[in-house]
């Protein structure tokens, strides 16, 4: 059995839907990290059958909306002195900014540089958002 050591101070992202771990790992730029990280795939889970898990041996800042967008079912545990100090549950964010890009070729965002396009949730089931400029639906 694969053994990954516990962490003294850091973050555990758990209950990631199997297959999405690598996407989150990349999104949080953990592939470029100079501290210890672990991406564990296809861990047996009573709740999910199989899940992915990420351990980060560091406390980092990240946008919870990005994680909520990728997998609102995951959980985040913050660890200090080897003890759990906080647990964060996510949901699909109502609005996201600067994460999605509009897929409508007629949208003004295809010709103008716009830093933070606001997308508003219109279908939580499909995780679909509408562009603030052209109303076109898009998802991650």
């Amino acid at each position: 059995m694969l053994k990954i050591n516990g962490i003294k101070r850091g973050i555990v992202i758990d209950h990631i839907k199997a297959g999405l771990g690598y996407k989150i790992y990349k999104e949080l730029k953990l592939d470029q990290a100079n501290y210890t990280t672990a991406l564990i795939k296809n861990v047996c889970s009573n709740k999910l059958g199989k899940k992915d898990l990420i351990k980060i041996d560091n406390v980092i800042d990240f946008d919870l909306n990005i994680l909520g967008l990728i997998d609102p079912g995951l959980t985040i545990t913050i660890i200090e002195d080897e003890k759990v100090v906080d647990k964060i549950k996510l949901s699909v964010p109502e609005q996201v900014e600067g994460i999605l890009t509009c897929k409508n070729p007629r949208c003004v965002s295809t010709i103008e540089h716009i830093d933070n396009i606001l997308f508003t949730l219109v279908d939580p089931e499909k995780k679909e958002y509408k562009c603030e400029f052209c109303d076109t639906r898009t998802s991650l």
């Binding site: 409508n104 007629r106 949208c107 003004v108 965002s109 295809t110 010709i111 103008e112 540089h113 716009i114 219109v122 509408k130 562009c131 603030e132 400029f133 052209c134 109303d135 076109t136 639906r137």
Partner: protein
């Protein structure tokens, strides 16, 4: 109430604000001379990034009839846009010269982007296949005038419902009124987008590709052109062009008091023989368009005081 606001989509105005605009438009129609100096000393900028004779003329005529002046461009190649200037920079600069701006742009959301940078009111005069709110004001004023009430009507929208921004804006606006029924008449390739259907709320609606089947029920028939400029593929355009042609024969099954509307320009979707039919009101609709734009400009500039209340 409306001073300094932008009009990017019909939802930017409340029902009360719409009513105030229509009331002023009615007053202007009754006595245009009374308003001929209302905008004296004020400047309207017309920023037309794609060709549009009709809408541009309508705005220009509106401002001139109010005693105001006009600056602007009618194609981007004749402006700094050809040098790569951003929409934000253009509107900020224009705001130093003009009191109000009208923008037509082929890209959807361009006027909204402009409004985020603007120091003067911005009016969306059409953005791609997205919205055309002043056409909606035109349509609502026309319906209000001919049908006596905007509520309590069955409206059939026929033609290009996918890319037809006039339809999108109108449906969105009409869905705010009571007891409306919508009949969407389009070939499968040009059906109304789902996000517009979502705007309907509890209003009943039907979809059909048959104009003949829909006709007897309608109080309003809103015809639209199959727009060549919205197609990426010429073959698709040629196949769908001429899908619906309204003629006298089809009108035999229509109600006597139905009205036939069209945002214009017409190509061949309404046979010219229909022009003589008293139900055909599309040219008067264009006239209402100028009056309602006059009222809108006055309101957004906050001019007139009690005279225009």
């Amino acid at each position: 109430m409306l001073k300094g606001k932008h009009l990017i989509e019909p939802g930017d105005l409340t029902i009360e604000e719409l009513e105030a605009i229509f009331t002023l438009a009615d007053a202007i129609i009754q006595d245009p001379k009374k308003y001929s100096d209302t905008c004296k000393g004020h400047l309207l900028a017309t920023l037309f990034y794609e060709p549009s004779t009709r809408t541009r003329f309508s705005f220009e005529a509106a401002m001139l009839r109010l005693g105001g002046e006009i600056i602007g461009f009618s194609e981007p190649n004749s402006s700094s846009v050809s040098k790569g200037e951003s929409i934000g920079d253009t509107i900020r600069t224009i705001g130093c010269y003009a009191d109000i701006a009208v923008m037509r742009h082929p890209k959807e959301g361009a006027p909204k982007l402009a409004s985020k940078h603007a120091t003067i009111p911005v009016i969306n005069a059409g953005d791609g296949g997205h919205q055309h709110p002043t056409q909606t004001l035109t349509d609502l004023l026309t319906i209000r005038s001919y049908r006596k009430s905007i509520s309590n009507n069955v409206i059939g929208l026929c033609g290009d419902l996918k890319f037809g921004r006039t339809v999108h804006s109108l449906v969105k606006a009409l869905s705010r009124y009571e007891h409306m029924k919508f009949v969407f008449i389009a070939p499968p390739e040009l059906e109304i987008p789902p996000y517009i259907i979502e705007e309907l709320g509890d209003h009943p609606y039907d979809r059909t590709s048959s104009l003949e089947d829909a006709m007897p029920e309608l109080d309003i028939l809103y015809m639209t052109r199959i727009q060549k400029e919205r197609f990426f593929n010429e073959e698709d355009y040629l196949r769908l062009k001429g899908y619906y042609i309204l003629d006298q024969k089809k009108l035999e099954h229509a109600k006597e008091d139905m009205i036939i509307m069209h945002p214009l320009p017409r190509v061949d979707e309404i046979h010219t023989e229909v022009d003589q039919d008293p139900r055909a009101i599309y040219f008067n609709q264009a006239k209402y368009g100028m009056y309602v734009r006059m009222a809108l400009i006055v309101k957004l500039l906050g001019l007139g005081g009690d005279l225009h209340a």
